[in-house]
Amino acid sequence: MLERHDTDILILGSGGAGLFAALHAQKAAPSAKVTIAVKGLIGKCGCTRMVQGGYNVALGHGDSVERHFMDTIKGGKWLPDQDMAWKLCEQAVVRVRELENEIGCFFDRNPDGSVHQKAFAGQTFDRTVHKGDLTGIEIINRLMEQVLSRPVERLQEHRAIGLIPAKDGSGLSGVLFIDMRTGRFRFVRAKAVLMATGGGPTMYKYHTPSGDKTMDGLAMALRAGLDLRDMEMVQFHPTGLLAGEHTKMTGTVLEEGLRGAGGHLLNGAEQRFMYDYDERGERATRDIVSRAIYAEMRKSNASPRGGVFISMAHLGPEHVAQKFRGMVKRCSDCGFDLAGGKVEVVPTAHYHMGGVVVDPDTRTAMPGLYVAGEDAGGAHGSNRLGGNGVANSTVYGGVAGDVMGKEATGALRDPDETILDAEIARASHPFARKPGNIHSLRTALQEAMWQDAGVMRTQTGLERCIARLHEIGAELMEIGVDDSTRAFNLTWHDWLNLRSLCDISEVIAEAALARENSRGAHYREDFPDEGDMETSYFTVAHRRDGILDVGRAPVRFTIVRPGETVLPDGEPETMVAAE
């Protein structure tokens, strides 16, 4: 039943982090065997590919790494790990040049041939590099070509299900997989493993990430006893498409630019409401708009499907159709007229700032295990700036590759066979039960998280949510999966997905309960103020001996303290012209 396989450097995931790690690892250690294992097809899954807006990078002309860094720290409400945030901003410059010059990406140009940059909300400079509104496709396609044309071993449709430590406790031995096409288990030993499975807050009723992302990485890390930080920090995008529960289109992003260009948000009574909440109206930041929409929905001011409307028609349908071609086409493909009519929208879970505690070189507390991209916590603090997500995954994926290339020396570690057997048993659990409807249970989880651990949170809500999560988790253990064939058995994977989501949902809810203030993406109605900046802390969660524990750790202001700046004296606050 169990196939065994060895490699030197093993990478989980083929998003921006995974693909960059593969290229850098191979360059850093040309004689090492590099293997990339992924839940879908290489380059065709994960969220880096779905990046629309673009990539934040300070390319000069008045912008600086310092300014990008200050925006990142302020955007993250002083919670980011400053060394990580600094490295993110500094290395983004190198990474974008690498993407253009070595990987072959082409970012949009100004008429004079220089790279075009625009501003996302929360930035003080026009610094987002992009390729139309399909930036992620350009980045991932080019990276994918480079990886596919090199001798990197590919394990496609291989789902990682367990981090298996060494027998002697010296670190990580390897990773247990299900080869999804055959349904067989495969254990791969490696000297260094990068976890870059991209998190993915898909435990919410409305969510943007791709279907393959279900928090598997963080769930594995949790079982391995690693520390997870900032787990309460789930970013909601204010305008997800609302098209009914039966369609996968629901939750997908209607881009930020629609509001920026002057789109109106209307409640169920077809009235604008954003000015009741913020003087910037629809142009307020993601968190504020998300909360305002949520508040309208709770006031029963909702559209027929329970959201609000976005309306662009007053800008001239032709103009809208031309400026937002992709979005308009996407809406019309599923029957909505974005250019001329109204489209129902709802806040949608977009990004998870929380993740494994790592050092700025992507190392974890477990020797041999490295984490990068959305799976790693720290770089964004309580809120990620639009455009910093893909910068983070590509920068730290590359860093991980360099570091692993150097550190993947010595011998392979022998696995702890007891844990290996236990992980196989865990994954095989549903085959011993009577099949049931997993989908309706996932809907129940998504409903619970959306209601009580979503855009706005309270102690009572979170406690109710946690109780519900325990019930759902227990119910899942009683639902089985048809064992007639394990090959490409999606329902088995639905079960495993839901298991990961339940485990991490609990951590999110517990961490949200532990943070008794409101920072960035985390909003407690019972603790609406942001708390003292000087004594800022972040949450750290782990599960050891079956007990989930959430603690606090003080933020270390290693570069700049609240109220101060690293910008030179006299630098203007912002260099973005108000629209």
Binding site: R49, V96, D108, S114, S210, G211, G244, K248, D333, C334
Partner: protein, 244 residues
Amino acid sequence: MTDLPPDTAPLRVSVWRGAKAGAFETFDVPMQESQTVLDLVAWIQQNADPTLAYRYACRVGMCGSCAMMVNGVPRWTCRTHVSKVMRGGTVQVAPLRNLPVIKDLAVDMDPFFDKWTEAGGAFFPTKSRADAVEPILPETPARQEADAAIECINCAVCYAACDVVSANPDYLGPAALNRAWSLVNDVKDGALDARLTAVSGAGGCHNCHSQQGCVAHCPNELNPTASIAGLKRATVRAALRGKS
């Protein structure tokens, strides 16, 4: 804007089951107002037959992993509204043509990507990360050609639509050649001659008969036929210069 009344007749969806050998199986799926072909397939797996295999990721037309034959035509299923393809209350869904079937609706896309590489689909750098980003005028003809071909999501819809792919196992196919053409026009790329050789082999661009199924079906409105024609011209020019 509400969901349809429950008395609406269900859709009859026939779905391919098995691998190369197999048969269609029919399911009744409740009809909804906003429903894509991918939603139909997912509904069947979640509610009617848990063993049905298919593939998707992004669900919004970006990853190109959900393509299938819908009523005999290759399509991205996550962006195909049921009303667009439904006939007399029925829809037929089969795995993508021209690729080996793994199971049910999931195909092995490796041959498609192997050919992408074989066609010289990977950029060859002439500069490094130590250099500044090269200024490139967006309005130059070469850049416009490169851009026109660039927004491919490698969904293999065109690959499934092309009869030369079915007839000639070496044929690199529209998507790979389209990518090669984009690179031929990329002034940053340093492997022009090698790429022109790569697209001139037994399965190269000269085997395209301009059937234009690729153009007719590409969900992103790309024009691989025009790209392939570009390669034909470029390779002929190179051959006349004695460089092939």
